[in-house]
């Protein structure tokens, strides 16, 4: 049961909106295209319908479990009649192959990170919102639900979907995330395959694109394939929408504007910036394919690729002369990279395969490819101009470009070996795949090194998990406030359900208060410091404070005051108590005559009634 409920809930995250979409989409639209695209658009529509239902009728719907279960069964039966399952049987061999590829990739990713060890830092804030929604509060704005969100970069559509999927069977959330990220990986690999196949009509290109999509992990900022977050889910939806346009165009079938509108609306609700980028991209494709003669004239111009290549080089050179620190401030400064830093990241993700295979792909696409391939090459190159610029967070846009880049690389490999014997081709594909497998392994192992504790790669140690279970059992947790260093309270707020001020994004007043609390030399300062830490969203006045001192807290306390106030600096990895830490904590306890109500080798919890 430990695995069954989270697995079913993770499947429901994708299945439930798809079933709703299949039932609600006009049958004509479902049958006029490949069933793969019909499923994608059904998901996009279903997500919006479910979200709108929650907003319209209230989150009390989530408490009616029998109704939700009944609705799911009803949707399954109706969908079975509306969506001809036999249509999808032709894709089964490919789906099995992609499933095996997913299993290998995910097994390697999780090799020293067993269930339920989380590796995705962002899941805590998303799960926190999902829990708040399940508890009966919903707003379109994320910042209205929790002060962990300082900026409304997306609506709560993603979190509502999480809440619906979890409210039916109430799974353990850590296990749920561990499993759902494997399904997300599968969907990203499928999206790469579908785009490759739709753009070229060649399933080998699709499969090579899927292999590249599986083995290349952006281990900084983008995290497209292995982390399920709003922007990575948006990217899968965007890729399938573009694949649909290309597929319909290639088969000279009608592109249904209604389907495109559904997808675009759903994407923008999922993530404003990445959804907006996809809409821009889809519009470019749409216009280019609707005006073929003009597109042909522009694309066939002999100077277009050299001009774009020159722009990339000039932008690259200029950015080496500019110091981003002169015009970017605050947290954004930590996510602003120069051209050379970007290139270092890309070397970690791809080794030299990007520099080798991407130009070959562009060359082959331009020399032998269709108009679609030429268009994809130009758009991908233009996106690189943005991604390599020294602006904050631009590497996030790589979630958009990665699918196009992998398609171009796959096309280059396929075309270069097109005339080789089948055995030679298979051997050649194997050599390149094995080399990329080594890149993937070293990339993920080097990334996971930072998170390792006692041989297990995780953001949350087993000690922190047991502390969260203890806190979750406290009867007065609704009227309580959790106080700890930003990282510890970010994790424990989500896992225990006790509110904190801002989680990892606690404000300057609270950070100063915590600093005083940890370094107070008398009872008066200690008590005053506790009162300075207050939640900025909820109006509930806490009656109890749970002060949590972990290894992270002691390490946070060793930072300079400037670093303590910096939102971008956190103790990201679990830290166990050392002999010196225990000495420090014991002295602190004696000074304030406070005794822990829970203790283990990494965490001590104190209860303070206000």
């Amino acid at each position: 049961m430990n695995l069954i409920l989270p697995t079913i809930s993770a499947i429901l995250f994708y299945l439930l909106p798809t079933l709703v979409g299949v039932v609600c989409l006009p049958k004509k639209l479902i049958t006029q295209t490949s069933p793969l695209f019909a499923l994608c658009f059904s998901f996009c529509l279903g997500v919006m319908i479910l979200y709108a239902s929650l907003l319209a009728f209230g989150v009390t719907l989530l408490t009616a479990q029998p109704i939700l279960i009944g609705m799911t069964i009803f949707l399954c039966i109706v969908s079975f009649y509306r969506f001809r399952v036999k249509n999808i049987l032709q894709y089964i061999p490919y789906i099995v192959a992609l499933g095996i590829l997913t299993a290998i990739t995910y097994a390697l990713w999780r090799i020293n990170s067993p269930l339920p060890s989380p590796l995705n830092w962002d899941i805590h804030e998303h799960q926190l919102l999902a829990t708040i929604i399940q508890n009966g509060t919903l707003s379109i704005r994320t910042s209205a639900l929790s002060d962990t969100f300082l900026f409304n970069g997306y609506t709560t559509q993603f979190h509502s979907l999480l809440a619906i999927a979890q409210s039916i069977l109430k799974p353990d959330s850590a296990t749920f995330w561990w499993i759902i990220e494997s399904i997300h990986l599968f969907t990203t690999i499928c999206a790469s395959w579908v785009l490759g196949w739709a753009a070229t009509g060649n399933k080998t290109v699709g499969m090579l694109s899927a292999i590249l999509g599986a083995l290349i992990f952006e281990s900084a900022v983008a995290f497209s394939s292995l982390f399920l977050i709003p922007q990575t889910l948006t990217a899968v939806m965007g890729t399938l929408t573009i694949a649909y346009i290309l597929y319909q165009q290639r088969n000279q079938a009608t592109i249904q504007p209604m389907l495109i509108a559904i997808s675009c609306t759903s994407m923008i609700l999922m993530h404003f910036i990445i959804g907006g980028a996809w809409i821009g991209l889809i519009t470019m494709f749409f216009i280019a394919l609707k005006l073929p003669s003009l597109t042909h004239r522009i694309i066939s111009s002999a100077v277009i690729v050299p001009i774009i290549a020159l722009v990339v080089c000039v932008v690259g050179y200029i950015t080496t002369l500019v110091n981003p620190a002169t015009f970017v401030f605050g947290q954004a400064k930590m996510f602003t990279y120069t051209f050379l830093q970007h290139m270092t990241f890309f070397q970690s993700f791809y080794s030299y395969s990007l520099l080798l295979l991407y130009p070959i792909g562009i060359f082959e696409a331009y020399k032998h490819g269709t108009m679609t391939m030429k268009l994809i090459s130009i758009i991908s190159l233009l996106l690189f101009v943005i991604i390599l610029s020294p602006l904050p967070y631009v590497l996030k846009f790589y979630v958009v470009n990665r699918y196009l880049v992998h398609l171009i690389m796959a096309y280059g490999i396929w075309y270069s070996l097109k005339y080789a014997h089948i055995v030679t081709r298979i051997l050649s594909y194997s050599f390149i795949s094995i080399a990329l497998l080594c890149v993937f392994c070293l990339n993920i192992f080097q990334w996971k090194e930072q998170t390792e504790i006692d041989g297990v790669a995780t953001h949350v140690s087993s000690d922190e998990q047991s502390a969260s279970r203890f806190l979750a059992r406290q009867p007065d947790r609704v009227n309580s406030l959790l106080i700890s260093d930003p990282a510890t309270q970010y994790i424990l707020e989500n896992m225990s359900g006790i509110n904190s001020q801002g989680g990892a994004y606690m404000n300057a007043t609270s950070r100063n208060g915590l600093n005083t609390l940890l370094n107070a030399t008398n009872q008066n300062d200690f008590a005053k410091a506790i009162f300075t830490i207050r939640d900025t969203v909820t109006s509930v006045k806490p009656t109890t404070s749970y002060i949590v001192i972990s290894g992270r807290t002691v390490e946070w306390n060793t930072l300079s005051v400037q670093d303590k106030l910096n939102l971008g600096i956190n103790i990201w990895n679990p830290v166990a108590f050392s002999l010196r830490t225990i000495t420090t904590i014991t002295t602190w306890e004696e000074m304030h005559t406070i005794r822990p109500i829970f203790t283990n080798t990494s965490v001590r919890i104190y209860k303070y009634s206000i």
Partner: protein
């Protein structure tokens, strides 16, 4: 017969394709960036190779290393070779013990990845392990060979349930009774145990802050205990 040149050309073409793919694959492998020192996990510590032998260090902490000086016969591996050893160790994580660094027939080091390493040598020379001023070094009966401030001692006694008793501070070179010695670094969680095959093989040199093993003893075993209280399970 007239087809032979055609088949030969075809063969040559395919050899060229294969060579091209191999070159691409090798170039990709060569371009893999090595950003960190390769290692194998050892509880709260990590094990890596250095020019002098091996180091046990705390991840992220730049201040603390235990250096295992293995005599001058160990060829130092390149970062890349070590990374692949380390990778192999992780891929075989569940198979314990894993041979981590197998050199020629002179020295080998094996690790169970998470908590134990064993250094074996056939050179007939001693293996030294260095410690620093902060470390608490004590033996299996609780005799403490180093000196510390009151608060550290108080916490250590509390954690070890009054197990420690101060040794003779005037002695500079001290043979250790038994075949095990423990090291606690106050800044690093957990505890290291070092065991030799035969009793009375360990000597502590306070002036050089070195723990040496007898040259007749051909193997030492180093274990990381994740919690300080775990020592009670080992006594």
């Amino acid at each position: 017969m007239k087809h032979i040149p055609h088949y030969f050309t075809l063969f040559l073409k395919n050899v060229a394709y294969l060579t091209m793919s191999l070159v691409v694959a090798i170039t990709i492998l060569v371009g893999i960036p090595i950003q960190t020192q390769p290692y194998v996990s050892l509880g709260h510590y990590r094990l890596t190779q250095t020019a002098n032998g091996y180091s046990i260090y705390q991840p992220g902490g730049s201040y603390r290393y235990y250096t295992i000086h293995v005599p001058n016969t160990v060829p130092v591996k390149t970062n890349k070779m070590l990374l692949f050893d380390s990778l192999q160790a992780r891929l075989l994580h569940t198979l314990s013990p894993v041979t981590l660094l197998a050199n020629n027939d002179i020295v080998s080091l094996s690790a169970t990845v998470t908590d134990t390493i064993a250094a074996i040598h056939t050179t007939g020379k001693e293996i030294d392990i260095t410690y620093t001023r902060d470390d608490l070094v004590f033996d299996g009966v609780g005799t403490l060979y180093t000196e510390h401030d009151e608060s550290t001692m108080k916490t250590a006694q509390y954690m070890l349930k009054n197990f420690l008793k101060q040794g003779d501070p005037s002695m500079r070179d001290m043979p250790v009774p038994g075949n095990v010695i423990y090291i606690i670094n106050p800044k690093i969680p957990g505890i290291l145990s070092i065991a030799t095959q035969s009793p009375t093989a360990i000597t502590i040199h306070k002036d050089t802050k070195t723990i040496s093993t007898a040259h007749t003893d051909k193997a030492i075993q180093i274990k990381s205990l994740v919690q300080i209280d775990d020592i009670s399970k080992n006594l």
